[in-house]
């Protein structure tokens, strides 16, 4: 099982992801330079947070044309797992691999703090170790995390279970009071219709050690590991 962390010019959470996966969780992980198109046999690709291409034009708008994104697109078509975190989420939206867009935060400011997330769908490769409705405490750090999708499209997304995380209160209350950035329906993370691609604004890689205040982020990475392992065993049996 191997993770690949894509490095764009301006990525700055790439080492955090690499460290969380290798040093904290003991996984095989490699960096993938954005100009390469070889995914080195990775089972899961992570698009990390940061400011790819300086956020020029729109966040993620230029990164989507990096050579590696062609390979990532093919990887998705073959059913590979892709997780976009923060700027990685923005890149997935600009690439059209996930629906919607991210606008500047409602209050016009950069927000960096812990938030609570409610797991809306625990039946995805990224949340299979969570229980439905479980509350995770994971930090956000962004200026443009205000998820936008026209209401009718959001309804379809919700119906299909593609809304994976919502911002909530400590008891799981989903309300405007616990919406940090103005996202429609408190949406914090969504998945593609086949659940192989997920994007989220909160940073699970920053919540993998007690000393950092939470280990809830581990659940997301370990879900991926558990899901891939199960898939491998299923593959052996058939």
């Amino acid at each position: 099982m191997r993770f690949g962390v894509v490095v764009f010019p301006g990525s700055n959470c790439d080492y955090d992801c690499f460290y969380a996966l290798r040093d904290v969780l003991g996984q095989d992980v490699v960096f993938l330079w954005h100009k390469n198109t070889d995914l080195q046999g990775c089972d899961c690709i992570i698009l990390p947070g940061g400011f790819s291409y300086g956020d020029y034009l729109r966040t993620g708008a230029i990164a989507r044309f990096s050579p590696i994104m062609e390979a990532v697109r093919d990887f998705v078509l073959q059913g590979g797992l892709v997780l976009g975190i923060c700027n990685g989420f923005q890149i997935l939206l600009e690439s059209g691999l996930l629906p919607g867009a991210l606008l500047p935060n409602r209050n016009g400011r950069f927000i960096c703090r812990y938030v609570y997330l409610r797991v809306e769908n625990a039946n995805t490769p990224f949340t299979c170790l969570c229980t439905p409705g479980e509350i995770l405490r994971i930090p956000i750090a962004h200026y443009q995390g205000n998820f936008f999708l026209p209401q009718d499209e959001l309804g379809i997304l919700t119906e299909r279970g593609q809304v994976v995380f919502r911002y909530c209160g400590p008891q799981g209350e989903v309300s405007e009071a616990y919406n940090p950035n103005g996202s429609v329906g408190n949406v914090a993370g969504i998945a593609s219709s086949d659940f192989r691609v997920m994007g989220m604004m909160p940073h699970p890689e920053r919540a993998c050690e007690e000393i950092l205040g939470s280990v809830d982020g581990r659940k997301i990475f370990l879900s991926i590991v558990a899901w891939l392992e199960e898939k491998r065993y299923a593959g052996c049996g058939s």
Partner: protein, 84 residues
């Protein structure tokens, strides 16, 4: 022949524009109480080679759709004229 394309990209109606809101508040602070609305956007000036004006327009429109605007949240207008 050279042409100059001027593109303006703005947010679609109903898409929240915190910069516009902040600038409106600043104008009110400067006592421009008559200001009712401020919309922010992006401006691009593109010099390009093309055989005809129609070709230049077609290319600029393509650029808007593929890169300059995000159709989920933005709309664009442009004009093309001869560049000398």
């Amino acid at each position: 022949m050279k042409y100059c394309g001027k593109v303006v990209v703005t947010l679609k109606p109903g898409v929240f524009d915190p910069q516009g809101m902040t600038i409106k508040n600043a104008l009110h602070t400067l006592s421009y109480q008559e200001v009712e609305e401020v919309e922010t956007g992006k401006y691009f000036r593109i010099i390009l080679k093309a055989v005809t004006k129609e070709e230049a327009e077609r290319r600029v429109q393509e650029m808007c759709e593929r890169l300059l605007a995000n159709p989920v949240i933005e709309r664009y207008t442009f004009e093309v004229e001869e560049f000398r």
